[in-house]
């Protein structure tokens, strides 16, 4: 299969969906002239015109609010957050409008907005440009949240998100944009809400997503060398979470670990662990282990930043402990 970057994969998704459906357009800061900080919009204005690829003012409430308004008026907007950290600036538009409008209005309308939000740690971007905030949105009924880890899923989930009649938050890890991977030709779609077993195993289940999936896969390689076979699940969607896949796996492995880059406390791992401990405690032979960032803002200094990043060794070590 051809290999392209994550960034190119999202670009293909955008182009194909904009081609397919004239109602699809995209707006955000520095996406037309610059092509996006990560090149993720490059060439779209040339192809679709700056009427459908709009450089906006620095006005996040207008970007998201107008996205919702355009959706109510029949369009299918993709809005870009520049950095996921700035979703804080328009939380009202996301939480009180985008998520609730259809329900509050008794189903009179749909809100087919996709909100793209580059997140995660990259190169000492420090406390206000490095956050992974996806777990907040688990707690907000009305949204769907996807978190691709590779180019194929990046494309397939973005296309699915654009076609979805529900609002979808699409968190894309900044450090993933330049990474390459195989992407099927043609109209490749990945269903929202379905996890992916990326590595089968019998000794423990490791659930992860986005960037951290790669740390987990490295760890799984190491563990295999030490006789421990981890089953690795890429969630792909964190709202709704595919608990069927998780439960099927722990029915086999009887051990569960969850790994994400976001702060451990109150992260997605909390919901997964809690739900497993509620619904399937019998299946488990050991405590449920969560790995996430320590309880601090992301520090600037590279040697401190390193301490909040999760490594394959962290994962492997914890997995070994869990399997003993």
């Amino acid at each position: 299969m051809r290999e392209i970057t994550f960034s190119e994969a999202t670009l293909e998704a955008m182009a194909e969906e904009m081609e397919r459906d004239a109602r699809v357009f995209v707006m955000g800061e520095d996406i037309a002239r610059q092509g996006g900080i990560f090149g993720q919009f490059k060439g779209l204005p040339q192809r679709f015109g700056t009427d459908r690829v709009l450089d906006t003012p620095i006005s996040e409430t207008a970007i998201v609010g107008a996205g919702v308004g355009a959706a109510l008026a029949g369009m299918r907007p993709v809005v870009d957050m520049h950095f996921a950290d700035f979703i804080t600036v328009c939380m009202d538009e996301v939480v009180n409008q985008m998520a609730k409008i259809r329900y509050m209005f008794g189903g009179q309308c749909t809100v087919p907005v996709v909100l793209r939000a580059p997140d995660g740690i990259i190169r000492s971007a420090a406390a206000q440009h490095s956050q992974s905030l996806e777990s907040w949105f688990l707690h907000v009924p009305g949204l769907k949240v996807v978190v691709p880890s590779n180019p194929a899923d990046a494309k397939g989930l973005l296309k699915a998100a654009i076609r979805s009649d529900d609002p979808v938050l699409y968190f894309e890890h900044k450090a993933l944009f330049p990474t390459k991977g195989p992407v099927p030709d043609g109209d490749h779609l990945v269903p929202i809400g379905k996890a992916n077993i990326v590595r089968p195993g019998r000794d423990l289940t490791i659930v992860s997503y986005s960037m951290m999936l790669h740390r987990v896969l490295e760890a799984a390689d190491k563990l295999a060398g030490q006789g421990i076979e981890a089953e690795v699940i890429d969630l792909r969607t964190i709202s709704p979470i595919d608990f069927d896949a998780i439960y099927a796996s722990i029915a086999k492995t009887h051990r569960l670990m969850i790994v994400h880059e976001a702060v451990k406390t109150g992260g997605v791992g909390a919901e997964i662990a809690a739900r497993a401990a509620e619904e399937n405690l019998d299946l488990l032979d050991a405590p449920i282990v969560r790995i996430g960032a320590p309880y601090v803002p992301i520090p600037f200094s590279p040697n401190l930043e390193k301490l909040v990043k999760i490594t394959a060794d962290d994962v492997a070590l914890a997995a070994k402990k869990l399997c003993n």
Binding site: A62, G65, Y103
Partner: protein
């Protein structure tokens, strides 16, 4: 006065509908029949009706927490409005929205909003959709004097001005934001002056004179439709009722309110003018009023009888594509 009798009757019908609807709502609320809380539009009828008179069902409006008047002015029906405010299954939002989240998408009324200042960007987005489609539709955003201090005012109007979107921002300056007088939180006499910061026309109009509102709004709506961009209209009025029904109104005197009502009641103004100009007779107005009163009584009767939503409806209309 260049309007024909039919049109004048239409205006009066809408205004008196709002007045009687609101008075009935106040009575029902104080009688303990209505859930939630309700904010009445009494005394501001000329604004919504005067503006909406130049809109079609294809045009959009966004509204506020004080939204019943906007609904009626845009052509929503009394029956499903009343049912909604009762929380009944037969309401516009199947009882899920209530007074603060009432909407009628069939006539382009994109919803009341419980978030003050939440509507600006929805209107901007609807206008953006109209511009992209070249459909000739216009969006109107109603908002209060208090709401004029939300950041969304600035972000929305700036974006609309920069992109010359077909949207009209209609400020209802009723001198009060809940218990807070206009001049204590704004250092300018006229909110319309803020238009200068966006390079768009800003117009002050007597919000108690429907003919003045009509003319001003029509010019702005025509301008928007012609692709010349947004206008900011400030309609000066006064909030005759408490902020919400049940408000003890400790912050102003009854005499002050009475004086405003005596001098500026938009319905009295209207009657005075049309009867003075011999375009309609008092008897015409009375006939419309009694017909309207009957319609409202009927709506109350039906709403009382209507069922609450079935409990199975709790999860309906949250997502289009099912999530459990």
């Amino acid at each position: 006065m260049k309007h024909d009798a039919e049109f004048l009757r239409h205006l009066y019908r809408r205004m008196i509908s709002i007045r009687l609807f609101e008075e009935k709502i106040g009575e029902l609320f104080l009688g303990g029949e209505l859930p939630g809380f309700v904010h009445l539009y009494v005394g501001e009828e000329a604004i919504a009706v005067g503006v909406c008179a130049s809109l079609t069902d294809q045009d959009y409006i966004t509204s506020t927490h004080r939204g019943h008047g906007h609904c009626i002015a845009k052509g929503a029906k009394i029956g499903p409005m009343m049912a909604e405010i009762f929380g009944k299954q037969t309401g516009y939002c199947k009882g899920k929205g209530g007074s603060m989240h009432i909407a009628d998408f069939s006539v382009g009324m994109l919803g009341a909003n419980g978030v003050v200042g939440g509507g600006y960007n929805l209107a901007v987005g609807a206008a953006l959709a109209a511009k992209m489609r070249k459909s000739g539709q216009v969006a109107v955003c109603f908002f209060g004097d208090g709401a004029s201090n939300r950041g969304t005012f600035h972000e929305g109007i700036n974006m609309a001005a920069a992109w010359k979107l077909p949207v009209v921002f209609v400020n209802e300056n009723n001198q009060w934001a809940s218990t807070t007088p206009y001049r204590t939180t704004n250092n300018i006499e006229d909110i319309a002056d803020r238009a200068k910061g966006y390079g768009i026309p800003g117009v002050v109009v007597d919000g108690n004179d429907i003919f003045a509102v009509l003319e001003t709004a029509k010019a702005a709506i025509d301008r928007a439709r012609a692709g010349e961009g947004p206008t900011l209209i400030e309609a000066k009025t006064y909030r005759i009722k408490g902020h919400f029904v049940g408000d003890p109104e400790m912050y102003r005197t009854k005499a002050e309110v009475q004086k405003h009502f005596d001098e500026n009641d938009p319905l009295k103004n209207f009657a005075h003018k049309v009867i003075g100009a011999k375009l309609l007779k008092q008897a015409d107005l009375d006939a419309i009023a009694s017909e309207t009163a009957r319609e409202i009584e009927q709506a109350v009767g039906e709403a009382r009888q209507a069922p609450y939503p079935d409990e199975a409806e709790l999860f309906a209309d949250l997502y289009v594509e099912g999530v459990k």
